[in-house]
Subunit: 403 residues, 2 copies
């Protein structure tokens, strides 16, 4: 059976990643891995979820918890998010919030909403690999977003037209981005809004790591900055994607999009057609847990992860050979290394796995143009101090061997 | 802010349904509604889910239950489905099963996998409204599938070519279909497989109601019939969509696709890009509940729903005026009425709501060509006998008033 004639053209862009396949093999206990960008399960608020689920399945709630529910999401959870957004400088109402199955689904839906084949999406070089994966299904062209850069809107527009479409949005991860750990400063955020206004495009603000700031001053979300310009959220072009995956637990798949009500109502129709709604039970449980332990729990997360970041930064300073540079993130889960130009991250992964029993993610897959061969991503969220120190020692050895 | 230039062309086909909007207003207690096709929450296996969730969050399991997991789905649940499929005459392995967030998501993914704009999807007139909604996002043309009909493959192919694409699949709900309640007999199933072979297209077999057969002999799924023809599942073009929404509970959003491994692996990549995975906790809970109470619980459901169906059929026989006909489903949740040609289902709904405090779904929205104005769908899953009898009396009065 040959499916070639049956698959849609978009399937040409849905290929298994060689790196992902390689990293699947990492569950061996003797390998030290900094590859996965995942929360430490030892920190999950399990007891709070246990209580919340028991409550959701109590006689008063179980009929709703196990039943179909509305596509826009569970009202009380949307209300909690409204309060959370207000604290971030985003006054809004329930009608500005759609619950999604993780913020990954928000990226998929936003790509689906805006991209026709040949349209252009602006992304940074590098950017979140999962955003490229989500958008790829809608067959865009990518062009490079340089926050604070001086390329003209006209040049972007003409380049997009030459690719057979129009620029539809700029996508940016604003705080402690995956993969670089870097944060966009106020000027960079304003510059993206300027460009978006000039091009008449949307802005997708990926804020999955927002609650994991360890030091430095918080910077307002682009959505807050745009509301300050335009007066109210419904006049804004920024669509903010939030997530409970990093603050509470990823296994429940609960995230959200916050933006102009007319866009949210279109996304509600899309969600109704695509999966009806996110699991009712999970939304109820996340609502209960968020209301009971969010502040306290994220404080614990920040304390723990900050210490791991500090350990990794210190170990990098000790063990990296000259010519290697890295980011100093103010939060999140990632540090980004730039290697000497002669070293390929993919080759380094193979040799590090073999000679050092060490894993990380080579950086190339985060670049829409497949540049960035001499980069790699380390996650510090999952390893204890001993492993981090030993791991950086091994990484130093692996890089030296490749020099 | 005008989003017209930013939205993808597909958004032209994502419109709020007037009927859905009307039916949203039905939560008033004095209205008798047969509109929603939803399970009776009084029948949910709440206790079993409570125990399963407690177990999933026990110290041995909670790290996995709350963590990211693989896109293909929870292994033990896929194994349970493999056993279930074997009982239906579909020998397969874990690699033939992808867990989705309800079978609605399976329909979305299958549309996404196969449809480029202008391609043709074959659907029955009428068909499941949610399938049209899911497929619409990929901008297909629809052509009419007539199971057992004698239109030639060549004619279908030429019609599709004239629409600027190719026929990609035939979609059919096989058992007690939403909205008609009708079941495709063996000959009809074989005829769809013949047509699919002739056209070199896929078959999407929607089997959401499979476990709700009240009488009559089970008919093998099309996937089983195709395996009988071709020797093994990986040589088959049928993709079977199953769901726990009707057998256990819809609020957890767990369904599956079963089909050829090369297609499943493409769908896994699609799911990874679209929402990473279905909620881990939910898959673990459904696995536990399915293994403990599936057979016993679905027996209870069948007994209860069968009695409601019988009550509705008897009440229809008593209260419908001449010229009204209806289906006699062997299972599922729906009875489909055909009214005299002069009566429009949408108009009837408005007058029935006003004069009779009665609701149902007008049939037109289930027709890809917007024909079927003189039809309507009744669901018998949610109402007790008293309401069913009173409701059919009111429906008879509403129809008489419209004659």
């Amino acid at each position: 059976m040959d499916w070639t004639n049956i698959f849609a053209t978009r399937m040409d862009r849905m290929k298994a990643s060689e790196i992902r396949e390689l990293l699947k093999l990492l569950d061996q206990p003797d390998i030290i891995s900094f590859a996965g960008g995942i929360p430490d399960p030892a920190l999950f608020p399990t007891q709070a979820f246990q209580e919340a689920l028991t409550d959701a399945l109590s006689p008063a709630n179980s009929s709703a918890a196990l039943q179909y529910s509305v596509s826009e999401g569970y009202g009380p959870l949307r209300d909690w998010i409204v309060d959370q957004m207000a604290e971030l400088g985003v006054p809004c109402t329930r009608d500005n919030v759609l619950i999604t199955s993780g913020s990954q689904q928000a990226l998929d839906y936003l790509g689906k909403m805006m991209l026709s084949p040949g349209d252009t999406a602006l992304v940074t070089w590098p950017t979140y690999m999962g955003a490229l994966g989500a958008f790829n299904a809608y067959e865009p062209t990518y062009d490079r977003l340089i926050p604070g850069g001086n390329r003209s809107a006209q040049d972007y527009a003409e380049t997009a037209e030459a690719s057979g479409g129009r620029v539809k949005f700029a996508y940016a991860s604003v705080d402690f981005a995956n993969p670089t750990g870097e944060t966009l400063d106020l000027k960079a955020r304003e510059s993206i809004l300027d460009l978006a206004d000039d091009l008449d495009i949307a802005v997708i603000e990926d804020s999955a790591y927002q609650s994991l700031r360890y030091d430095g001053d918080p910077i307002p979300p682009m959505l807050a900055l745009e509301i300050a310009r335009k007066g109210n959220i419904d006049a804004c072009r920024t669509l903010y994607c939030g997530s409970f995956s990093k603050s509470l637990a990823p296994g429940l798949r609960v995230g959200w999009v916050c933006g102009a009500a007319p866009v949210i109502s279109q996304l509600v129709l899309m969600k109704q057609a695509a999966d009806l709604h996110s699991a009712t039970l999970n939304q109820m449980a996340v609502n209960t847990v968020a209301r009971s332990v969010f502040a306290e729990h994220t404080t614990t997360l920040r304390r723990t992860y900050a210490a791991r970041r500090d350990t990794m930064l210190a170990a990098l300073a000790e063990h990296m050979p000259e010519g290697v540079t890295w980011t100093k993130p103010e939060g999140g889960m990632f540090i980004w290394l730039t290697l000497p130009k002669t070293i390929d991250g993919g080759d380094l992964l193979k040799s590090a796995l073999e000679a050092q029993k060490l894993a990380f993610v080579p950086g190339q897959a985060f670049f829409a143009d497949r540049s960035g061969a001499n980069t790699l991503r380390l996650s510090f969220s999952l390893a204890d101090d001993t492993k981090i120190v030993e791991g950086m020692k091994r990484l130093g050895a692996a890089i030296r061997a490749a020099l």
